[in-house]
Symmetry: C2
């Protein structure tokens, strides 16, 4: 009897510890880059729900989310792929799948996780449930800028191959069908899918301009846009290449971090011609649009990374300047845009703003935080 | 000892029944209009997780979702407001808050639920946690087309008042600050927020054309767009006024169900001028864009409601015609667009399509299903 009671009590306790019944729509992850750990946060209170350790090298780490927003797949720089259970607060599975990786993506139906690898260069596809290898796509090149595309596929760029590949994974057992785009420009270093899911744009490290593919008309191939976008003929000192993934699109305009200049460029998304340039505090790294598009938040490269500016997308000028502290690494909105979360690496904290003022509403301790990733990314194309 | 054991066992059993640990991102609701019930579904398998009964009159019912995607707030025609716990599979709270209601919305921060009432005419704001009344906004008119707007507020139209009101609920305790737009046209009957969160558009029952408010410049007031949109000078027989809320925006174009005509109209979202009209099978009711914008799915009014057509948004022509059966009431995509769910009322079933073919992948029994609402609406402005 006592034994049964103990068993029951243990089951109850473990059930309660693991199974705090809660929705997963307001969860998020904070990457703690120096300690190989992440914090699970929720945005409603807001607060931290706990820390998970043992994720390896998380410098430059990113993550994608399962379609039920319960699991995160964290891509580490050391080739580690870690599946986290956000509700149970633990690592569900972890593999080291390559020597050096740069990021990943999850398929539209949530069944495949793709990892972009530097060493050996290529893309590996894993079963999202088991993390078993499903397919290996060697490329003979470092792979960058991977994203899911509508209709079960992935698109990515080959840094050493001067190419963009589209892998259609939805056509049965014989492996993905590959479409290879050449003549895209030299050394693509990052890529993104536009928020409407239609265009893939790759930044070029080896020359000025960007490569654009219209996913509605892949047969048209890549075309070059924004010829002046880049490091220029006489390169300026570039402290950090900006993240394309942070591009903001608002009101038919794209807001791009300029490279090497203290400017955010504004381009018309219909013809991808530059409309204007907005003077900002430093070399921008991320320019992220609030979900309603009215404001674009910008952070900056070292040594000006203590500052964040907010651009008014209607007036095309800086509306607010904030000084959160040294090492503002990343900006992330809650899905409807009521809050903005940012990481202040050197101050070991995450700050949370009400986006209306903006005004600081909360601050959470974190160890050298970098990326902040909301679980609602599960529901967005290209994230 | 036995008592403690029984208590523990009961707690464990109820804990297990309630607490199947699962994410909420892939959940959805199917409204069963005739029986006052809903089914909770999940899209990953896909399958039904169960039925909840006792929700009152669900003809023309709709729902919004909490920011953690755990709870749904169902607005019944009889003035009932029911808060469902999707994870526990039960009614958490239910009130009858008016004699006759038409819909509702949830605030950007998830704290307030607003209900638009016909009788007595007005908007009531409730605490999303407790369903306690927070604020009453009498309007002296039936209220239609309510939606949340960025920055803690709601916008709605007064059918009898020929007006649109914007209620800012974010400015402290003294109640919402109201901005009233007059001269918007006669008898607004529905309204929507454009997917980018910037514009509110109201349809007019009393005259042709639509009223548009730019939320970035509310001081500019309402302006009239698409002067030819409506029942026309010599009204055609209109079997069902189309739902504005179904409007598709894809690739800079809006796809609108024409009123009384067998056409889907296409307008440029920059100047809201009509670009073309696409001939379709019947009088369209909903025209819904797949999240990547490439396809627009359309259903039709009685007596042609056994058919669904798929428009190719690049070619601006019908690409596919499906015949699911009599009484296709509603269409809903999964958030990344891999699946389309539709309700076939007279066949008592819900059909689920892989949107690539499209091809039917599953069919679920349901009692006279009408609305299908995915929990990921929690993360979208204006839903």
């Amino acid at each position: 009897m006592r034994a049964r009671l103990t068993l029951l009590a243990a089951a109850l306790a473990s059930g309660m510890a693991q199974a705090e019944l809660r929705g997963s729509g307001d969860l998020g992850l904070v990457i703690e880059r120096a300690s190989g750990s992440v914090q699970i946060v929720e945005t409603t209170t807001p607060r931290s729900l706990g820390r998970i350790e043992g994720l390896g090298d998380l410098s430059h780490a990113t993550a994608v989310f399962s379609r039920d927003a319960r699991h995160a797949f964290v891509f580490g720089r050391d080739g580690g792929l870690t599946k986290l259970d956000l509700l149970a607060g633990r690592i569900e599975r972890r593999i080291v799948q390559a020597g050096n990786a740069i990021g990943g993506a999850i398929s539209q139906d949530g069944r495949l996780v793709a990892v972009a690898n530097y060493e050996p260069g290529g893309v590996k596809l894993f079963d999202a449930r088991s993390l078993e290898l499903v397919q290996d796509i060697p490329t003979g090149s470092k792979v960058v800028g991977i994203a899911d595309v509508p209709g079960q596929g992935f698109i990515f760029s080959l840094f050493d191959g001067d190419a963009i590949w589209l892998a259609d994974t939805g056509k049965g057992e014989s492996g993905p069908r590959l479409t290879k785009f050449a003549d895209i420009g030299r050394q693509p270093y990052d890529g993104l899918i536009t928020p409407d899911g239609r265009h893939y744009i790759a930044g070029l490290f080896g020359e000025d301009g960007l490569a654009l593919i219209d996913l509605w008309r892949p047969e048209a191939g890549a075309r070059r846009i924004l010829a002046g976008y880049g490091r220029g003929q006489e390169p300026l000192p570039v402290y950090k290449m900006p993240h394309l993934r942070g591009w903001a699109v608002a009101g038919g305009l794209a807001f791009l971090p300029a490279i090497g200049r203290h400017e955010v460029l504004v381009a018309d998304t219909r013809d991808w011609k530059q409309v204007t340039a907005i003077a900002v505090h430093g070399q921008p790294v991320f320019a992220v649009a609030r979900p309603d598009g009215r404001h674009v938040w910008v952070n900056f490269a070292h040594p000006r990374n203590d500052t964040v500016q907010v651009i008014d997308a209607a007036k095309l000028e800086v509306a607010h300047t904030l000084k959160p502290g040294r090492g503002v690494m990343h900006l992330e909105f809650t899905p409807r845009g009521d809050q903005l979360w940012l990481s202040v690496r050197d101050a070991d904290r995450v700050e949370i703003y009400d986006t209306r003022g903006p005004s600081l509403i909360a601050s959470l301790p974190a160890k050298a935080p970098s990326g902040i990733l909301m679980a609602a990314r599960a529901h967005r194309i290209g994230f």
